[in-house]
Symmetry: C2
Subunit: 485 residues, 2 copies
C-alpha cells in the first residue's frame, strides 16, 4: 500500500488509539447503546493520559457517530449507531440470463496478481480464529490410534462417526436426521455441484437470490444453466412474492438460496418466509438447494433455523460445511439431500469418491468433545466485532448516501454506493494501494450492481483496516466528484 | 461363504501347504522359470516332512502347470507358466452409445448389500500394503510444525511443495514440468471430471478403450456424453488403426485412455503406439485425457512412459494419483493439463476449491524423504505376487477355454470365459457364497463382455483366496454344463 499521510498521522496519536479502544468496546457490546461513558476527568486519571487526550478521543468518537454529548449530563453511547440508509429490495432483470463470469475479478485471481495488504475481498477468516492446536492434537491422536485410516478409502457417503455427530447437532434447531441421511462432501462447494448435477440439465433455469455468491454463478456457468435473479431484500432475503411469480410457468427447475446470512447480502429470512418458501417450492415440484454455510454465525439469540426445518417432503437439500467454522484446511462439507439422497451419493462416488478419512474422524471427535460450541461462541464474537468495526469505519469514511444493511450474522456485508460510482474502477484504484474488495457486478449474471461492493471482515480489526476503509472512502468521493470531508 | 468341502479338505493337508509355498516362490520370482527344484529326498530332509508329502506337493504343482518333470533329471519350474489362451482384440459396436450404468452391480453397492468374504471386485489394495505408520508420524510432524495449515484453504492449484515433488518425480520418465503446470485434485477421479468438463459439451462423443473402467462410464453418463468404444488389445491397448478410423469425421471430441496397465484389461501400450496416438490426436485437435493411475505398478524393468512423454503441443492431460500408491485415505490426485491448464484450474476452484493442505504437505514430505521409492518397490512386488497367485489359481480351476492375459503391472486383470457364461448370473451365485468380482458388462456402455469378468488382487494370497477361485471355477463349469474336472 502506498502512503496515506493524513490517516497515518492520525492513527499514530494517543487519542486516536484511545478512541479505537472505546469503539472496539462498543462494537463488541462491552459498552451498550445508551450507556454512560466515564467523565473526561475520570478516564484521564484511570488511563493516566492528559485531559485533552480524552477530550480529543471523545470528539473523534462523536465524529464517528458512536457517542453523543447530552448537555449537563455527559457522554453516552449512541442509541442507533448507524447513520447510513438501509438499502431496499434489489431489482434484477426479469428474464433468465446465461452466466458468464470474468475470472479476472475473482478474489483468488486478484490475490495472485496483486500485492494485497488489506483484503476485504476473500471470504476467508484468519487462521488465528480457528482451533488449530486442538485439531492438530486430535488428528495426531486419531491417526496414531488407527493408522489404517490413512489407507482407508472410506465410503462415498462419508465417515459414520462424523455423520452421527452432524445429526446430533441438527437437533439444536429441531432437525431430526439419521446419520444415513447425511452425505459428506469436499466442502460445501462440492455439495452445491452435486445437487445441481442431480436436479438440472444444461439449459435449465435456476432461480437465485440477487445478488448471489459468484462461486454459485460460476458453477451455473460451467453446467450451462441459466440464472433467474429474484429480487432480494438485504434484511429479509429473497422476495417470496417475486419467487412465486417467477415460478408460475414451470420454467424454473431448481432454486439455490442462502436463507441464513446470505453471501453477499448478509440477509436473514424470517421463519415465516422460510415456511412459505418451502411450501411454495414443494407445491411446484421445484427442488430447493439451501446453502446454510453461515447459519452458525448468528450474533445474538438462537441459531436461526434453516428452511430445511420446514421441509415435510424431502424437497430441500440442506448444505453446510466445517470449512467456515472449524478447519478451512480440512475441506469437509455435508448435505442432507432428502429425496435426492441416492442420486447425490452416486454423484459423490464419481466426482471425488470420498473425503479423507483421518480428517473426517478428527472433526467427529472435535464435535463429540464439546470443544465445538466453545469455539463457535468465540468465533461469533470475533466476527460480530470485526463487522461492527468495519461498518463503523464505513459510516465515518464513506459518503452520506452510502446504503448498508448491518447483518445479524456472518462476516460479510453489502454496500450500495451512489449510482455514479463504478466499483470495478474503484477496485482497480484500490489495488494499486494494496486494498482489495469484491465489486458488485461479480454477484450478478446480468452484471447489475456496478455501484455496489462486498466487504469481508476476516481479521481482527486494526488501524491498518481503519486506514484502508478511509482510503476507499476518499477514492469513492474522488470518483463522484464530491469534496473530501 | 458356505462350505466347500472338497477344497477345504485338500487345503488343510501338509502337502498342499508345501505346494502353496513353492507356488508362492514361483509367483514372486524367487524361483525363476527353468530353475531346478530340490530333489524329493533333499526337500524332505530340509523341511522334515515325509517323502510322500514332497511327492504329493510336486504332483500338485505339476497339476497346476507350475513345474514339470524332466526325465532322468528332476523337477523344474515351467518355462511358460500360463496354459491359458491369450484373448484377442475386443470387438465393440461401431457407433457411439448413450451410457447407462446400473449402480446395482458396482463393487461399492455389492459391498454394502452383501456379506462379502473374498472380494475380487473392489480395486482397493489392503491397508497393510501402505506406509501408514510413517505417514502418521509425518502428518503429526507437519501439523505440529505449522498448525495454521489446518486453517489454510490453500490454493485451487494445490500446495506448491507437493507440486514441486511431483515435477521432480516426472523426471524419472523424462517428463519436464514446472510445479506451476501441475494441479492437485481430490483423487484422480476429480481430475477426470474436470478434464471432461473442460473439453466436452453434453451430447459430445468421447472415444474410450473397450472395455473401460465403469467409474469413467458413470462420469460420461452424468455429463450426458456418448461413448465410442474402440477395439482394444489386452496386451497392447487401444488399436491405433481403429482409433484413426473412428476419429476421421470430427465426431469424437475427446479421448480417455489408460495406456499403462489399463483397468480392467491390464494392457500396456508400446511406446511406438503412444507416439502414434499422441500425434494422431494432436493432428485432429482431439484432446487426450490420459489416466496414468497404474503407471508406477510395473513389475519389471523401467517405469513405462505415459503418452504425455510424446506430447509436444500440450494436447495431453496427464492424470495420476497418490491414492493407489501411498495413501488411499488422503485422496490426493493430480493433473498436468497442458493447454487446458487454466480452464481446469478454474473448474477445480468451483468443484471442490482445494485439497486439504495438511495431507498435501505430508505427501510432499514423504516424497522428499525418499521413502516413496522404497515403498513402491515393496508394493510392486506384492501386487506382482498377488496377481501371479490369482492367475495360477485360475489356470488350475477355470475351464480350459478360459482366456486371460497376464498383465505386466497393476493388480487387476481381465478374464474372458466361454461365450455361454453369463457373469452377472455367476456373480449372483458367487455372492451367495461370499465371493465377489466385477462382471464384464459393467465395463461397456453397449453391455458387451457379458461372458467376461475382472479380478482385483488386493490382498496377500491365502488358502481362502485359493478356495474362492476354485469355487468360481466350479460355478462356471456348472453354468456351461461341463463336468467338474
Amino acid at each position: 500500500m502506498t502512503e496515506v499521510p493524513v490517516a497515518r498521522r492520525k492513527a499514530d496519536t494517543l487519542y486516536f488509539q484511545l478512541a479505537g479502544e472505546i469503539a472496539h468496546a462498543i462494537a463488541s457490546g462491552v459498552l451498550q447503546a445508551g450507556e454512560k461513558l466515564p467523565s473526561i476527568r475520570k478516564l484521564s486519571s484511570q488511563r493516566q493520559v492528559s485531559l485533552s487526550t480524552v477530550m480529543e478521543a471523545y470528539r473523534e468518537l462523536e465524529d464517528r457517530a458512536l457517542i453523543e454529548v447530552r448537555p449537563q449530563s455527559g457522554f453516552y453511547v449512541r442509541n442507533k449507531p448507524s447513520v447510513l440508509i438501509a438499502p431496499e429490495l434489489t431489482q434484477p432483470p426479469q428474464s433468465p440470463s446465461d452466466v458468464v463470469i470474468d475470472p479476472m475479478w475473482l478474489p483468488a485471481t486478484l490475490a495472485r496478481l496483486h500485492d494485497i495488504k488489506i483484503d476485504f475481498g476473500f471470504a476467508i477468516l484468519a487462521p488465528a480464529l480457528f482451533p488449530n492446536q486442538q485439531l492438530q492434537r486430535l488428528l495426531a491422536q486419531v491417526t496414531r490410534q488407527d493408522p489404517d485410516l490413512i489407507a482407508d478409502y472410506g465410503r462415498p457417503a462419508g465417515d459414520v462417526e462424523l455423520r452421527r455427530q452432524i445429526a446430533r447437532r441438527a437437533l439444536n434447531w429441531g432437525g431430526q436426521f439419521e446419520a444415513d441421511e447425511i452425505l459428506i462432501t469436499q466442502g460445501a462447494i462440492e455439495a452445491l455441484n452435486l445437487c445441481l448435477r442431480a436436479v438440472t440439465q444444461p439449459g435449465d433455469v435456476v432461480a437465485i437470490e440477487s445478488p448471489s455468491y459468484f462461486g454459485l454463478l460460476q458453477i451455473l456457468e460451467s453446467f450451462q444453466l441459466k440464472a433467474l435473479e429474484i429480487p432480494t431484500h438485504p434484511q429479509t432475503g429473497i422476495s417470496i412474492e417475486a419467487l412465486e411469480f417467477a415460478t408460475r410457468n414451470g420454467e424454473v427447475k431448481a432454486c439455490v438460496l442462502l436463507p441464513n446470512f446470505s453471501n453477499p447480502l448478509g440477509s436473514l429470512m424470517p421463519d415465516e418466509n422460510k415456511r412459505r418458501l418451502v411450501e411454495l417450492l414443494a407445491e411446484r415440484h421445484i427442488p430447493l438447494i439451501e446453502d446454510d454455510l453461515y447459519g452458525e454465525f448468528y450474533y445474538k439469540g438462537e441459531r436461526p433455523r434453516p428452511a430445511k426445518a420446514f421441509d415435510k417432503e424431502g424437497n430441500v437439500m440442506l448444505i453446510s460445511s466445517f470449512t467456515k467454522t472449524v478447519a478451512p484446511g480440512f475441506r469437509i462439507g455435508w448435505v442432507v439431500a432428502g429425496k435426492y439422497h441416492q442420486k447425490i451419493e452416486q454423484l459423490k462416488f464419481i466426482n471425488t469418491f470420498s473425503n479423507a478419512m483421518p480428517l473426517q474422524r478428527t472433526i467427529a471427535r472435535f464435535l463429540e468433545s464439546g470443544g465445538y460450541d466453545h469455539h463457535l461462541r468465540r468465533l461469533r464474537r470475533a466476527c460480530h466485532e470485526q463487522v461492527g468495526h468495519a461498518v463503523a469505519a464505513i459510516e465515518r469514511a464513506f459518503p452520506a448516501d452510502t446504503r448498508l444493511y448491518v447483518p445479524q450474522g456472518g462476516y460479510v456485508f453489502w454496500v450500495e454506493l451512489n449510482a455514479a460510482v463504478n466499483t470495478l474502477q474503484l477496485l482497480q484504484q484500490a489495488l494499486k494501494e494494496g486494498i482489495s474488495f469484491t465489486p458488485g457486478s461479480l454477484f450478478s449474471p446480468s452484471h447489475s450492481y456496478g455501484h455496489c461492493l462486498r466487504i469481508c471482515c476476516n481479521e481482527t480489526w486494526s488501524n491498518r483496516h481503519e486506514r484502508a476503509i478511509e482510503r476507499l472512502g476518499e477514492l469513492i468521493q474522488l470518483q463522484i466528484g464530491q469534496p473530501l470531508p
